[in-house]
């Protein structure tokens, strides 16, 4: 078929329509973020109005100042960062080791291990919540970093293992065999050859562990009770008082919680998507 002027116009028309639809959808999807940003910079008087303006006229930083100076935001940020960091580390180590083991070896009990890991991915958190609370209370792990890190790392592990297994499966075995023939030890082949090649998988695992620990709410709420051990998600919900919520400050704090995650996501989304579709969807 020859491209005619008519066909070109029609295609252009379609493209314009498509962009229009996508732009409207994107506006709907992104509206909450826009409003979060606008509210966080808005003057307190203008914030609580029954006819809020969609546009920001005179941005102010009072809400950010309030969050940083008058609330335990910085302590909570620190707590979240520490817990997330160690969770990520544990996920990378234990997850890639276990994933490698499941991907590369045939051994007795492998099937059982796979099933256990697989089922652990699906169980409801509420089933574990009460026993964990009671056990952690006995072990004096309530209100500690260790308690949260142990909980989060273990929750993230089944999925991380699964994801890493998927990545390892896609790396040809021949590379390791060649290294072993050349005199590399079994463990050496894993650490020097395969693990570096699975770097995207490690990135996806790190991101998953980090996000889980950074975002988790239910366990943080249950396993920490003292003000100084709260993490950010719990901290955010404490902005809401019984009669009055300082929404300006809340939106400022939310934005500060959200931005690191989204920046992180923009840089690693390719690996994350690859890992998710390999791990969860192809099974």
């Amino acid at each position: 078929m020859l491209p005619s002027a008519y066909g070109f116009r029609r295609r252009l028309g379609r493209l314009v329509l498509l962009y229009a639809v996508l732009t409207v959808l994107a506006a709907v999807v992104l509206l909450p973020f826009y409003w979060m940003a606008v509210s966080s910079f808005r003057q307190p008087e203008a914030l609580f109005s029954s006819k809020p303006s969609l546009w920001l006229s005179k941005p102010v930083l009072v809400h950010y100042a309030h969050v940083l100076r008058r609330t335990p935001f910085i302590v909570q940020f620190q707590n979240s960062a520490i817990v997330a960091l160690f969770t990520t580390l544990a996920c990378i180590l234990a997850g890639s080791f276990a994933g490698y083991s499941l991907s590369r070896f045939r051994f007795t009990g492998k099937f059982t291990f796979s099933i256990v890991i697989f089922l652990a991915m699906m169980f409801p958190a509420t089933v574990v919540l009460i026993p964990m609370f009671l056990v952690f209370r006995t072990l004096k792990l309530l209100n500690t970093y260790a308690g949260l890190i142990i909980a989060y790392a273990t929750f993230a592990l089944p999925f991380c293992t699964w994801m890493m297994k998927g990545f390892f499966d896609s790396i040809p075995m021949e590379l390791e065999e060649a290294a072993i023939v050349d005199g590399c030890s079994r463990a050496g082949a894993m650490f020097r050859i395969t693990l570096p090649l699975a770097a995207p998988g490690v990135a996806a695992t790190a991101m998953f562990g980090f996000l889980l620990a950074w975002n988790e709410y239910l366990f943080a709420l249950t396993l920490t009770t003292s003000e100084s051990m709260r993490t950010l998600p719990v901290g955010l919900t404490l902005f809401s008082g019984e009669y009055y919520t300082n929404y300006g400050a809340l939106m400022a704090a939310s934005l500060m919680v959200c931005v690191p995650v989204l920046v992180f996501f923009l840089y690693t989304n390719k690996y994350m998507i690859q890992g998710l579709t390999a791990g969860a969807v192809k099974g």
Binding site: L15, L18, V21, L22, A26, V29, L30, L31, P32, F33, F48, S50, P52, L54, G95, F97, A98, S101, L102, F105, F113, I117, F118, L119, M122, F123, P124, A125, T126, V127, V128, L129, I130, P131, M132, L134, V135, T154, L157, P158, D169, M173, E177, I180, R186, N215, Y217, T222, P233, L236, F239, M251, C258, V261, F265, I273, L276, T277, V281, K282
Partner: protein, 312 residues
Amino acid sequence: MMRDAVKVALPGRRSSRQLRVLEDAFPYLLILPAIIGILLVILFPIVYNAWLSFHLRRLIIPQTPFVGFMNYMRVLSDPEFWAAAWVTSIWALGSIGLNFVVGLGMALLLNLKFPGRSVFRIVFLIPWATPQIVAALNWKWLLNDQFGLINALLAQAGVLSQPVAWLADLRFALPMVILINVWKNYGFEMMAFLAALQSIPPVLYEAGSIDGASAVQRFRYITLPLLRPIILVLIILRSIWSINSFDMVYVLTAGGPANATQLTSLYIFKTAFERGMFSSSATASMLIFVVVLGLALLFMRVSARQGATHAT
């Protein structure tokens, strides 16, 4: 899925007896930390939880006598539990259906070829990457009855004559939390459908066009059948995740108004930590656990079957 790895031959290496043992132990050593963690932090609590459901445990009283099925009788005769189960069913069905429709629609749209496609793909994934709590608080502010943007916009458009308290109104609370949940989560379905759509060979569509199939027919007879495996997986996964979810609804409505949005997960949480009835709570969570376990086993069978047909 459970495709066995080819056993690595270890040629050309002097192996003493000791080395042999070490090499046999290597796969176990590697998997050990993960397994220990999972056993201690997930499986042990589940067993403990099962034990609790047959004993009476209160927050302050140290004795925990065996009570048989009493806890089960109590939970199963509690109308609040059944109400929560009903709410959870609606929540799960709504979330499954809407996430499916929105996710598939977005995937089809983003599967078209146009400049700037990759940017839009990331933009539409942003809600999915947002922390649950941030999303929930954000929507709570948007839907605020007095100062919220949604009410203001609707009033301006002339749709509303007076403000609506979306999350505190018996009619709107549950549909609203479902919609917010879909806004937060459709990205996963979208991503999975996109990956699946991209693996469909274009030749099939060309053949369809040559044979005179319309766009709708091509979708109906080429795309949909080829998406069937992933559709099944997504439905099962989303139902498990819907039953397990807690954060979003707890922050948005805490189960209110008048328990209209009280999911079983919230019921379990409240029973334990607001009423101190640990045994009843453990019992309710055992009941939910059985449902989830059934779904998880189903998921395993489905994806094992797909692994068998798709592998190599």
